[in-house]
């Protein structure tokens, strides 16, 4: 290759280097700032009375006793907030036929899930507010709960929102190729039902918001534990009829999010209303118990799946029928139909089979609303696809790795359009599979499995291939009318000391967004990374953009930073050229210096350039106007999404006496394009895997027939803890996207996308000789024993 090295390949650059996160230091010293850490003068605390019933008419609410408690500032119900806001409806217009009902900060006359907020107390002290809460008297008239998804859609079922006519929020059908003919011609058809338990995000920091309204200037500053400050600002100004100039949203440190903190929650909107009403700062921090019944849930799906193959193991067709329950409202503004939609889109898409039929039905129920949670739809599509493929392999007596090898999209077959219409620019399924077999020592593992089997120990190996949707373009949400930006911006400023301040519209929740930004900026500008200061999470101080979700931070904002840094670099070299009387093209930047582009000789330290611009303009030629601030934006346009791919392998041991599944080891091979920081990428994958392992083995929101959550404490709802989790090994294959200079795709969903499918296949691999099979997650000891016929 001739010509100068690209910014991606410079030996002194930071792209591709494992680097720790500068902003992690404050967190390690207990000096982070989470919303609950903020103390403002006259701060008041809001708490919420929530419906104890899944479905009930609110006959009357008596707040008089509560209002008399010492220290209580105000007690409100829905009617006290009327006129302060406009309600919201969580539908996307491009999802044809979708419907939902208007949602309010506090339930008006009917509560539709256990946990829906119906009244609020604001007091000087949180404990006092909770004392008062207990004195609110509500007269309820209980209505029938609608918990079962089939029941919700059964003919004659009472609609949860009478004005909507029925409980069908959305449905979609897709029929590609010749599905009936394929199933008719097949030598083998496997059909099964896969069930996925409703679970939730369990962010270590619960949802938190502080609304600080200043009536003097009419401004509202919202400190929010959120991934999407710009979106929230737009939502707030729309629904509280405020001007764009009146609202500022700030996200400080965010204690975990995983998709939970991109939604509009009634209690948070109520807190904003209370701040405006009371003209003083009002804070709401959910406690853990109310988080379980008020954070969004996800993944309640029952999928009937079919696969058709010929006798050589060629997959001919897939068919699914997905039924999902989303609670009583479609969540605003992303809707609750996207998860099912993504199941339909992703199912089987990494295999060559051209014939595919799908039906999706999205049902209202009286349980908490669901919506986007890490790896939206992916784990479901992956488990159904890979579960069917493994069952087929068993029926055909073909090794599961070999069956995949025969059917995966070929690495040289791109671009490729899937039967559901997804366009893949370039994926690497075959390389990932072969890399995995070597990485996990698959053949040796199979031999080891046989040795253990001979000793009566049941170990299993599970493979799961997957694709991941990253870098979504404007056709994802914006086209459907949601105030969600698909573009991001970066603004870079050279400061007098030769350091760079980079403000960027994505946010940081620990993924390492800020470090990624600093690595790219420092590489392009040829400065030590310590000289880059990154600013995120503030609508008043950052360019406009979408925020951090759907694995878009690096691929989209990273590209904006790359382009912005190039623009700033060009401006710096123009100025340095004027000072040095050299053509800018003969100059370069390296190690904080302007250098000769050919010889590398240091010509001028960067700080001298900026000081000349800022303090000694008198020394500059008269026609030179320094521009040491440059901004660029980026939005993916070439493809609707940048798909990534990978494969996971899980090795388990099943105790057939107790039903316990021990995770021995887990491997991931992932292709996310250009890797900016391997350390951060690998930790994203590991964290994602463990969220998937939690779904596979532990996590479920257990509801009884009355719609009451049975396990709504952290002691009862099981999350993955250190002792049960395995070591997770990671390897990379790299296929850059050509739609950006950076070539980076996302990686945040990958771990969660494939982990639960790999566990399922491993368990079924262990139990197959015993004639047992599990397809309902989580795979609890009780379910394992039932599958074995022991209980």
């Amino acid at each position: 290759m001739s010509g100068p090295l690209s910014f991606l390949d410079r030996p002194a650059g930071y792209i591709g280097r494992s680097m720790p996160r500068a902003n992690a230091r404050r967190l390690l010293h207990g000096r982070g700032t989470f919303v609950d850490d903020i103390r403002l003068p006259r701060l008041a605390h809001a708490v919420f009375l929530r419906s104890p019933y899944a479905h009930a008419r609110i006959v009357a609410i008596d707040t008089s006793d509560a209002a008399r408690v010492d220290g209580v500032i105000r007690v409100v119900t829905a009617k006290d907030l009327a006129g302060l806001y406009t309600p919201w409806v969580g539908v996307l217009t491009h999802l044809k036929g979708m419907k939902s009902a208007p949602q309010h900060p506090l339930a008006l006359d009917r509560a539709r899930w256990q946990g829906e907020p119906v009244a609020a107390v604001v007091a000087e002290d949180r404990a006092v507010a909770e004392d008062a809460l207990a004195r609110i008297a509500v007269t309820w008239e209980e209505l029938p709960a609608v918990t079962d998804m089939e029941g919700a859609l059964a003919p004659g079922a009472a609609p949860i929102h009478p004005e909507l006519g029925d409980n069908l929020a959305y449905q979609r059908s897709l029929d590609a190729g010749a599905v009936d003919a394929a199933f008719k011609a097949a030598d083998l058809v496997i059909e099964d039902v896969f069930e996925f338990a409703r679970h939730t995000g369990v962010c270590p920091e619960t949802r938190a918001i502080l609304a600080d309204f200043n009536p003097g200037e009419g401004t509202l500053v919202v400190h929010h534990s959120s991934q999407v400050p710009h979106m929230m600002k737009e939502v707030i100004l729309r629904h509280f009829s405020l001007a764009e100039t009146q609202v500022r949203v700030i996200c400080h440190d965010v204690g975990g999010s995983y998709g939970i903190k991109i939604h509009v929650y009634p209690d948070e909107m109520a807190t904003i209303a209370l701040g405006i009403l009371l003209k003083r700062p009002v804070k709401f921090v959910a406690d853990r118990l109310e988080s379980f019944v008020s954070d969004i849930h996800a993944r309640e799906h029952r999928v009937k799946g079919r696969i058709a193959l010929d006798k050589f193991g060629e997959i001919l067709a897939f068919e699914i029928d997905d039924l999902t329950g989303i609670g009583p409202f479609s969540t605003y503004p992303r809707s609750s139909a996207v998860e099912g939609n993504q199941v339909v889109n992703l199912m089987g898409a990494w295999y060559r089979a051209p014939n595919y039929r799908a039906r999706l039905r999205v049902a209202f129920q009286t349980k908490p609303p669901t919506s986007q949670y890490r790896a939206v739809g992916h784990p479901i599509a992956c488990a159904v696809t890979e579960g069917l493929v493994d069952q087929a392999a068993r029926a055909l007596a073909i090794d599961p790795a070999e069956l995949r090898r025969r059917n995966l999209l070929a690495d040289d077959a791109y671009p490729h359009t899937s039967p559901a219409g997804l366009i893949f620019e370039g994926l690497s399924h075959q390389r990932c599979l072969e890399r995995m077999l070597e990485f996990a020592r698959y053949d040796a593992l199979r031999r080891e499995q046989q040795d253990f089997r001979a000793r009566g120990v049941h170990r299993g190996i599970g493979l799961a291939c997957f694709i991941e949707i990253t870098n979504p373009g404007p056709a994802f949400y914006g086209v459907g009318g949601a105030p969600i930006s698909a573009q991001d911006g970066a603004s870079l400023r050279l400061d007098p000391g030769g350091t760079v301040t980079c403000a960027v519209s994505v946010t940081e929740q620990g993924q390492g967004s800020e470090t990624m930004v600093a690595q790219i900026a420092a590489s392009v500008l040829g400065i030590p990374i310590e000289r880059v200061r990154v600013v995120t999470g503030d609508t008043e101080r950052t360019p406009y953009g979408g925020g951090t979700w759907a694995s878009r931070g690096t691929g989209i904002a990273g590209e904006a930073v790359l382009q912005g840094a190039k623009a700033l670099r060009a401006n710096i070299l123009v100025l340095a050229g004027a000072i040095l009387q050299s053509a800018p093209a003969t100059l370069d930047m390296s190690e904080g210096w302007v250098v000769d582009a050919v010889t590398g000789t240091q010509r001028m330290p960067l700080e001298e350039v900026s000081r000349a611009a800022y303090f000694r303009g008198d020394t500059l030629p008269p026609d030179v106007q320094p521009e040491l601030l440059a901004s660029r934006h980026y939005m993916p346009r070439d493809f609707p999404f940048a798909f990534t791919n990978g494969i996971q392998c899980c090795y388990v041991e099943v105790d057939t006496e107790t039903g316990f599944v021990k995770l021995i080891k887990h491997w991931v091979v992932e292709d996310c394009g250009t890797v900016i920081n391997p350390l951060l990428v690998e930790e994203q994958i590991r964290g994602g895997v463990v969220q998937g392992l939690g779904a596979a083995l532990f996590e479920q929101c257990l509801y009884d027939a009355a719609g009451q959550l049975q396990n709504g404490t952290l002691a009862d709802y099981l999350v993955p803890m250190a002792a049960e989790m395995p070591d997770i090994e990671i390897a990379h294959v790299t296929t850059r996207t050509s739609s950006s200079g950076l070539g980076a795709k996302g990686v945040g969903e990958a771990g969660t996308a494939g982990a639960s499918a790999a566990v399922m296949n491993a368990i079924n691999d262990a139990l197959a000789p015993l004639g047992a099979k599990l397809t309902a997650q989580p795979f609890t000891p009780a379910r394992v024993l039932r599958a074995l016929g022991k209980v």
């Binding site: 992690a24 390690l28 989470f34 270590p204 619960t206 930790e683 952290l714 803890m721 002792a723 997770i728």
Partner: protein, 162 residues
């Protein structure tokens, strides 16, 4: 709830005297009365470990203790342990290994694993995982935390051998 009790205790090496409500937790006392917000509340029912502090040398859940019980006690929080340098090597290992993401659980993780390393200078990976069984992290998947603790133990042993 207006009745208060006088307590006197040492927090991060400093004498502190306050009047506290009998229902106030140690966590709320540290955060609200002393402004030590590095101690985080993740569940307030003793499961997640985010509020872990040292009380008289032992690790405790500050959400399950009442401030009024702490009269005469010696309490150390992440702020004190950071400023004294007592866990600096562990913090560095967490940093280098990226053994934290959102950082909400991190104070509890550091305080818990520091106690493990005092009790066991050469813990196995399984022992580290067991010791952390009361500390919830949603971001890392724990692998990096285990690595960081293992690395700290190793470097402490090497320092002793020299």
């Amino acid at each position: 709830m207006s009745e208060t009790h006088a307590i006197r205790l040492r927090v991060n090496g400093e004498e502190v005297s306050r009047r506290v409500s009998p229902r106030q937790s140690l966590a709320d006392f540290l955060r609200d009365d002393l402004g030590l917000t590095g101690t985080h509340l993740g569940c307030e029912h003793g499961v997640c470990g985010a509020c872990t502090v040292r009380v008289d040398g032992g690790i405790m859940r500050s959400c399950l203790l009442l401030a009024v019980q702490l009269d005469g006690a010696e309490v150390e929080t992440i702020e004190g342990l950071s400023e004294s340098g007592a866990i600096a090597d562990l913090q560095t290992a967490f940093h280098e290994r990226n053994a934290l993401q959102c950082g909400f659980c991190t104070a509890g993780m550091l305080i818990t694993t520091a106690a493990l390393l005092e009790a066991n200078g050469a813990p196995s990976r399984a022992e580290i995982r067991d010791y952390l069984s009361g500390n919830y992290c949603r971001c890392t998947g724990y692998h990096a935390i285990v690595d960081a603790v293992e690395a700290t133990a190793r470097s402490r042993r090497q320092r002793q051998d020299r």
